[in-house]
């Protein structure tokens, strides 16, 4: 028993632990997700985050220890943003043909999501630095962190808000779209990519190829629009 405790103390402080725990939990959550027919409530990111947070809390492992291993996965967010050029390139004819509609819809949806988040937070009396961390919540996490830093928010919190936004969009989007009615797969996918960024887009890619392509498109458009415009708009506040 003593040996086991020593072994655990050693293992839980090496980067191997965070990396292994993340990937193993995610693979299990993904298997569960497929098992229940990709039901929105079984979202693999949601369950992986919950299980890992409980596991770390129960075992008393500090977040930085976990992150020393998980950072290898976290690092790939940057190259993943660069990789968004690929779906944009594949859809370049469509992008050119419908450029005005795509940019306008992305602008309207992104502005509505960001402005309503800040307005609701303000009405509910949230402090200024929280409001500034809420503003980029519809942009994919690494870019949201960069924007939050520029406009006076808390980058780590902005990343958490972005992940929560993505999860809420991925879990509840289907029901909202069904309630609105008459939306095609490309409109659903584009809305998920715009308002629920990478996590919403991942959901769209799993459900339908058309929705996935438009979600990838939306993700790329949103990243450029938000990174360019949000710091400019934030100067007025």
């Amino acid at each position: 028993m003593q040996d086991f405790v020593q072994l655990w103390v050693y293992l839980s402080t090496t980067p191997l632990f965070g990396l292994t725990a993340t990937i193993v939990t995610y693979v299990l959550a993904q298997a569960l997700y497929l098992c229940v027919g990709q039901a929105p409530w079984a979202n693999p990111v949601l369950w992986t985050v919950l299980v890992l947070a409980v596991l770390l809390t129960l075992s008393g492992t500090p977040y930085p220890t976990y992150f020393s291993g998980a950072q290898f996965i976290h690092f790939l967010l940057g190259p993943a943003v660069v990789a968004l050029a690929w779906p944009l390139w594949q859809r370049r004819a469509e992008l050119r043909q419908r450029a005005a509609a795509i940019v306008l819809a992305g602008l309207a949806g992104g502005a509505a999501a960001s402005a309503s988040a800040v307005a609701i937070g303000w009405a509910l009396g949230l402090p200024n630095d929280l409001l500034r961390s809420l503003a980029p919540k519809s942009v994919t996490a690494p870019v949201a962190m960069g924007i939050a830093e520029q406009i006076g928010g808390i980058p780590a919190l902005a990343a958490v808000f972005a992940v929560l936004t993505g999860l809420i969009g991925a879990v509840s989007g289907k029901y909202l779209f069904d309630a609105i009615g008459g939306l095609s797969m490309r409109e659903r996918g584009f809305a998920l990519g715009t308002s629920a960024h990478g996590i919403g887009a991942a959901r769209a890619m799993q459900v339908n190829a058309d929705a996935g392509a438009y979600a990838g498109l939306a993700l790329g458009v949103q990243v450029v629009l938000a990174a360019l415009l949000m710091p400019l708009v934030a100067r007025w506040f």
Partner: protein, 124 residues
């Protein structure tokens, strides 16, 4: 090997993006500039297959990449217990507003195109 070559292209574009952002004080994050650079580089046919291979693999597991940041929620439990419900309300309602506005605006814009353009869409 294709995946490795593709990854090299992604990292090169990201690094070039970081350099350009810092050098010229651009208001865009480095990876976003990297994405725009890769979009230009994809005009060169030789890099398409390797970039496509690694991009498809990365984007297929995109949601895994958000897990480390997501677990970071546990470090903000103090703020969450103080403002949790209000923050959650702001996030949930604004996400729905964003989804609805985007989908409805795109539907309006895509379906108002003149019918003469429809055959072009078929060809694509």
């Amino acid at each position: 090997m294709a995946v490795l070559t593709g990854l090299a292209w992604l990292l090169l574009c990201q690094s070039a993006g970081e350099v350009l952002t810092r050098l010229f004080g651009l208001p865009l994050p480095g990876p976003v500039v990297g994405m725009l650079l890769l979009l230009l580089a994809l005009r060169w046919p030789r890099i398409r297959a390797p970039v496509g291979a690694v991009a498809d693999a990365l984007l297929a597991h995109l949601s895994l990449l958000f897990v480390p940041v997501g677990v970071g929620v546990m470090t903000h439990l103090g703020l969450l217990s103080q403002y949790g419900l209000r923050m959650l309300m702001a996030i949930v309602v604004s996400t729905w507003i964003g989804l609805a506005v985007t989908a409805v605006v795109l539907r309006l814009l895509l379906r108002r195109r003149p019918p003469s353009m429809e055959p072009a869409e078929q060809a694509e």
